[in-house]
């Protein structure tokens, strides 16, 4: 019918018949990874709950391999979609094996006894997430990272074609986050399992996703590939940030710029200045930064934190007008910080700034 494995048609979702997000149009090929991003309370979980039939859709349909999800019998849907949720799993004597084995529910008979084949699949699922050694540990005693892997094993034991994960990295440290997402990527590539998840970590979403959907207000604002979505003009309005607060280069957001007239000038570059900019921000001291090439490692943080950045086009001699402006600003400052950027043929203007600071006696010995 179409080349897409998964697609939604004019889907509207919400609670008690009131639509929260309208006209959702998503389409994915087999083995693609879609990430929902957006502010808290935007409705990412509501969308995911509707895709997994936990929540009845208000209108529209979800088609999986051409079949309507909402018209499918519950057990048929359970053989296609499995989930990893934020809901906490309790049960004092529940073992990791028990949790993973519960994924076999749609395949076992009336009494729920596992066949040899079921056991083999559960073992394989645990091995897939590198949790075989945990099988007979009590689930409650596992670390957050281990629990999340076991829950993913549960989802795999269900032999799904689509896995839906609601904020799977929430309680995980950096290493476990990376491990989990690498695992998802491998499953998508090797087993052609389609993955739909929500993430708060934009940097991870950007690295993992084939497609990204931005959820805010009553609709999906944008949908596209990471290079189409991770731009300041899309990300900043999505999270109601000031323009350029989020930088596509370091993928992060700085704390608010200090107010007031700058009395400090930072001569920075090559990434030597970013920590100094942040230290000044913490001390509440407004500052000038320069002269930075717009491709410099220090440039994104300077743009967010400095009262003014004296910027120069890369791969060209620094414009004399910019140098003059920077010198004027430097003279107005009580202190000048030099962060140790190398000065050579390409950035002789910095030497002029440094000499002027020495002449004025405002060059500080300590960086900060």
């Amino acid at each position: 019918m179409s080349e897409y494995f998964f697609r939604t048609d004019a889907l509207s979702v919400g609670y008690h018949g009131v639509p929260l997000i309208r006209d959702i149009a998503l389409s994915l090929k087999r083995g693609e990874i879609l990430t929902l991003i957006g502010p808290n309370g935007a409705g990412k979980s509501t969308i995911l709950k509707s895709l997994t039939r936990h929540l009845a859709a208000i209108c529209g349909d979800v088609r999986i391999a051409g079949d309507s999800l909402f018209k499918m019998p519950a057990d048929a849907a359970a053989r296609i979609i499995s989930v990893v949720l934020t809901e906490r799993v309790r049960g004092e004597y529940l073992s990791a094996w028990d949790v993973a084995a519960s994924g076999r529910y749609p395949y076992t008979g009336r009494f729920g006894t596992l066949s040899g084949e079921d056991r083999r699949i559960v073992s394989a699922a645990l091995a897939e997430v590198d949790a075989s050694a945990l099988a007979f540990h009590r689930f409650e005693t596992l670390s957050d990272g281990q629990r999340q892997r076991v829950l993913l094993a549960r989802a795999l034991a269900q032999e799904p074609e689509l896995i839906v994960l609601d904020e799977p990295t929430s309680y995980l440290d950096l290493r476990y986050q990376t491990e989990l997402l690498a695992l998802l990527q491998r499953l998508a590539h090797e087993k052609q399992i389609t993955v739909i998840l929500s993430l708060h970590e934009l940097d991870l979403a950007r690295k993992l996703s084939d497609k990204v959907a931005c959820v805010s207000g009553d609709r999906i604002r944008h949908i596209g590939t990471p290079d189409q979505i991770f731009r300041p003009e899309i990300i900043c309005p999505l999270y109601e940030l000031p323009p350029n607060a989020w930088s596509p280069f370091n993928g992060s957001v700085e704390l608010p710029q200090p107010d007031g007239t700058p009395e400090t000038f930072v001569i920075a570059g090559c990434g030597t200045g970013t920590d100094t900019f942040r230290a000044l921000q913490r001390a509440g001291r407004p500052f000038y930064a320069g002269i930075l090439f717009t491709n410099d490692l220090d440039f994104p943080a300077a743009q967010s934190l400095a009262a003014r950045v004296f910027a120069a086009e890369p791969f060209r001699p620094i414009d004399a007008a910019v140098t003059a402006e920077a010198l004027a600003a430097l003279r107005s400052c009580q202190s000048v910080l030099y962060t140790g950027v190398p000065i050579a043929e390409g950035n002789q203007a910095l030497k002029a700034l440094l000499d002027e600071a020495r002449r004025c006696g405002t060059l500080q010995d300590n960086v900060i």
Binding site: H54, D75, V89, E92, Y93, S102, F111, A135, Q158
Partner: protein, 342 residues
């Protein structure tokens, strides 16, 4: 790969089965008239109807031990279903107000029948108890429609239980003196009035409930992980919850009808079974609850009637003595775990 777990399971079930058979024989033998083992066996196996002990054996001892075992199993099974329903090991038939509802309607039926000298069959008592349990449950379900939070639902159950107890007290206060004497022994909880008709009715109900619970084991296993995960594997949450509640109230009602309120069995035994088996799998837990509940209740009843013979203790006195420490230990462990952030 499951050898260790399997050994434990086999051992626990073997011990419980032997324990139950042993206690059944022991309970039949001991009492104010002691029946010697060889006499007991010859009466049971060769049908020595004319032996001097036969009357005691068939009229008093056998119905009593069988009823204690059956109702112990029924209460534990009911408690286990309730705990599964709430995913909370502190739940039991009393917490939801189901036992109190049953007690109220049984008291009402007894007062009406006694004052008019009607004959009450075992079935009519069970029917009254089940009706009371269902009325309580109706209120709980009504509350559940607007209260999504499980712990708030438990509070609603406790309130319903207080209301039922208040009405029962009111009825007992205004009942005639002669009625109170009869009502009093029942409302304390006792297996002393056991007869064969009670045994047969209990056996039918407990047997049916056990068969039903075999079919409940699979959805109960999925339910254990939480409602959302349960839904995601494709089962009908609404039907499952209704079945669980109906079955639990029938079992709790049945027990209240024949033995009055028996405390702590429903809440303590499932937790003990979990501790013994070290599993949450309903396929093992449900039968273990029935066996352990039977052993627990039968043991307690033997103590109740033999410890201070000829004086007889109420069954709840003994079950509380053994059951309450289990619940206290459970509460302490839970709060410790919470403090540790678990």
């Amino acid at each position: 790969m499951h050898d260790h777990a399997d050994n434990r399971t086999v051992l626990v079930f073997a011990l419980l089965s032997f324990g139950l058979i042993g206690l059944l024989l022991f309970g039949t033998a001991v009492g104010s008239v002691r029946i010697r083992p060889e006499a007991l066996l010859s009466i049971l196996l060769q049908g020595g109807e004319n032996a001097p002990e036969a009357a005691i054996l068939f009229r008093l001892r056998l119905p009593r031990v069988l009823l204690a075992a059956l109702l112990g199993g029924a209460l534990s099974l009911s408690g286990c279903l309730m705990q599964a329903y709430f995913r909370n090991p502190i739940a039991g038939p009393f917490v939801l107000g189901i036992s109190s509802g049953a007690k109220l309607t049984v008291a009402l039926t007894m007062i009406t029948a006694l004052s008019r000298t009607w004959y009450l069959s075992s079935w009519s008592l069970v029917l009254a108890a089940f009706a009371g349990a269902l009325i309580s449950m109706g209120f709980v379900l009504l509350a559940a429609r607007s209260i999504r939070n499980m712990s708030m639902l438990l509070v609603a159950g406790i309130m319903i239980s207080y209301i039922c107890s208040a009405v029962t007290e009111f009825l007992v206060t205004f009942a005639e003196d002669s009625d109170i004497a009869n009502l009093h022994s029942w409302s304390q909880g006792s297996f002393s009035g056991a007869n064969w008709s009670d045994v047969v009715v209990s056996a039918l109900i407990v047997g049916a409930a056990m068969i039903a619970s075999v079919f409940l084991a699979k959805p109960m296993g999925a339910w254990l992980l939480g409602e959302s995960y349960a839904k995601s594997v494709g089962f009908n949450v609404r039907d499952f919850r209704l079945t669980l509640i109906l079955l639990a109230s029938l079992l709790a009602g049945c027990c209240t009808a024949f033995a009055g309120p028996v405390s702590f069995v429903g809440i303590a035994v499932p937790n003990l079974a979990r501790l013994l088996l070290k599993t949450e799998r309903p396929q093992l837990l449900l039968p273990a609850c029935v066996l352990l509940g039977a052993v627990f209740c039968l043991g307690c009843d033997i103590i109740a009637r033999c410890a201070f013979a000829p004086l007889e203790l109420s069954i709840s006195t003994v079950t509380a003595l053994f059951g309450a420490p289990v619940v206290i230990a459970l509460l302490i462990r839970r709060s410790k775990k919470r403090q540790m952030g678990g």
